[in-house]
């Protein structure tokens, strides 16, 4: 999965995408050039539930085309054979469609959980899965607050499957398949910063149409997929109890304590061992006296 950085930069230049210079809050790593994370803005007010995104996703990833249609009261979930689903919700403002897929968190729990870096936050933003590294422990599934990674339980050579934001297409300078093909322009691809601005603009322009919350702006430390809709997220099946701090931060304290324990505890143990040696001698003498 080696990434040809130079080639990538060229493509970006051709595509005319803005390259952010210097370090931004969302910059991925300490590479020579920093680029902003890409993301997707999904607008429920525009979505008509045609499932073109589902079909183009299935086609792109060689998965079976969807057979069910979105239905109010039925929650379809992503699984091994579908990486994105559109659900229909009856809300206070009528029927609203919502597309679900991987949220591509800024600081993904799955990638922090992965002990082989198989689950990996690319510097372009998509969180991808790399089969040559994965050992199938499923800790990513345990950790993901959105329950996104799925596992092929019925395969002898199982894969972890989830949306990868069409990472290969992004490297070629193209949009993800769903964003490319959405006829209603409900799915917008761009840098996360632009998308948040766009979302704010839409809300500000039509405050009576939109609910004023951008889901994904802060949830779980911010996600690459951000949502605007007519109604608050709670009516659309979103998890609303998530913390705004990133999930990897939860185990940071423990991990930071490890080096200190590793250095200090052996010294302490050795010290106790040395100072209690006399105990042993006393006891041995006692034994002999018996």
């Amino acid at each position: 999965m080696g990434l040809d950085r130079r080639g990538f930069m060229k493509t970006l230049g051709v595509a005319g995408t803005t390259l952010a210079l210097g370090k931004t809050a969302f910059a991925a790593g300490k590479g020579k050039e920093s680029i902003e994370f890409y993301g997707i803005l999904y607008d429920s007010t525009r979505c008509v539930g045609c499932q073109t995104c589902e079909n183009s996703c299935a086609e792109k990833h060689g998965l079976p085309a969807p057979t069910e249609v979105p239905e109010a009261g039925v929650i379809r979930k992503t699984d091994e054979s579908r990486r994105t689903v559109v659900n229909l919700f009856k809300t206070t403002k009528g029927e609203v469609y919502v597309k679900n897929q991987c949220m591509h968190c800024n600081e993904p729990a799955c990638a922090a959980a992965c002990l082989t870096q198989a689950m990996y936050k690319t510097k372009e933003g998509p969180v991808i899965w790399r089969g040559n590294k994965c050992m199938g422990c499923r800790y990513c599934m345990v950790s993901c607050p959105f329950d996104v990674p799925k596992f092929e339980f019925h395969s002898a050579n199982p894969k972890i499957t989830k949306c990868d934001m069409c990472y290969d297409r992004i490297l070629e300078g193209k949009k993800p398949a769903c964003a490319e093909n959405c006829p209603a322009e409900a799915i917008t691809f761009g840098t996360r910063r632009e998308l948040i601005q766009e979302a704010r603009k839409r809300i500000a322009a039509q405050p009576d149409v939109y609910s004023d919350l951008i889901y994904g702006e802060r949830e779980a430390g911010g996600t690459g997929e951000v949502y605007v809709a007519q109604v608050p997220p709670v009516e659309l099946g979103f998890k609303t109890n998530l913390q705004n701090e990133s999930y990897p931060a939860l185990s940071k304290g423990f991990l930071y304590a490890v080096p200190s324990v590793f250095v200090l505890l052996p010294v302490l143990l050795l010290g106790i061992h040395e100072t209690t040696k006399t105990n042993k001698n006393h006891q041995n003498e006692g034994d002999e006296n018996e």
Binding site: A112, G136, R138, K150, Y247, S251, F254, P266, H273
Partner: protein
Amino acid sequence: MKTSNFEYPIAKDNDGKTIWKFLISEFKPKGKIFTPFNIISVPVILLGIVLIVIRFWKGIGSITNLTQEVPWGLWIGFDVVTGVAFAGGAYVLTFIVYILNNQKYHSIVRITVLNGFLAYVFYAGALLLDLGRPWNVINPIIGNSFGTSSVLFLVAWHFLLYMLAQLIEFSPAVAEWLGAKRARKILSGMTIAAVIFGITLSTLHQSGLGALYLMAKDKIHPLWYSEFIPILFLVSSIFAGLSMVIFEGSISHKVFFNQISEKHNKEQDGIVRGLSRICAGAMFAYFALQVLIFIHQKRWDLLGTPMGYWYLLEMIGFVLIPMLMFVSGYRRKSINMIKTAAILTMVGVILNRLNVTVIGFKWDEAIRYVPSWMEVVVTLTVIFTEIWIFRWVVRRMPVLRDAPIWAKNQDK
């Protein structure tokens, strides 16, 4: 050259047999074949092997009830997380005997370390059954794929290193069995280093097993989730391990009575009483921590729910009550009460680990995960196989019985 290498150590201590003849004779069964344990365990192990073959052939879902929402079930929650807690006796006892230099417990160190070592080999080994892509298991060990931000990375490394440390701690017994005098001298010289390393590793991975679940904040029932899971897991591994030592000791003393010298047999009650006092102390600390966390998180309103009653049962029935029984058993010198307390404590530890990993995990999901009978059989297969190996070793090596005289002379 060749003959001297092979024959020298064995010839002296094992009736002049060569090492190969000696090893072959050691592989023959000792003891009765048709014991109740064998009659139960052999069919279970055979069935388990068939199930394991199916699992690798058709996938994990073919024999487990795991779902996309509950990806870790009995094999992780019980075999690994609970099994490792029970193996904690080894680090606690090596701390008492080698670090505090308290010789009272010296006679049970070997069997505890053996028990701990085998528990790690088998229960951590059970992880391999649960890995979807086990051929990549070496990636975090050798490869260029160090996921250093992962708690599981730490736990995996620690399992591996701790197994090595325990092997070194136990190796003098193997050397005594083989009559390898020089090897024994070198190996027993490494004991203190291995013990210090092993205790450090244990501290970190016993707590690390709890830290694994820190990121599953919204998935675990709030009565069992707190940022202190790592500390709770560490403290409870102390009395989990020691209860296992008491429990295992009471069985070993019946099954292997002919291995145990009269002196050690006499010491046993004093050892059990001493352990019960340590257990009670650790449980008091644990209970106090749990109460603090409970009050601090203001979880009173959750107590009136079914999960709340379940929580109270665990805390009172299987922590507070056995703790008081340990104290009273120690005071009244009632070994039976201590043994009962040890069993209750073990049930409590199983409950606690399963509550975090399985029962309280996605407790609000409409369809709950319940392990399939096949998962249970595979778990039993792992446990029974471990007991077979354990028995094999105890009957052959100086684990419970006294070390040979030459070995004792080396230590002087």
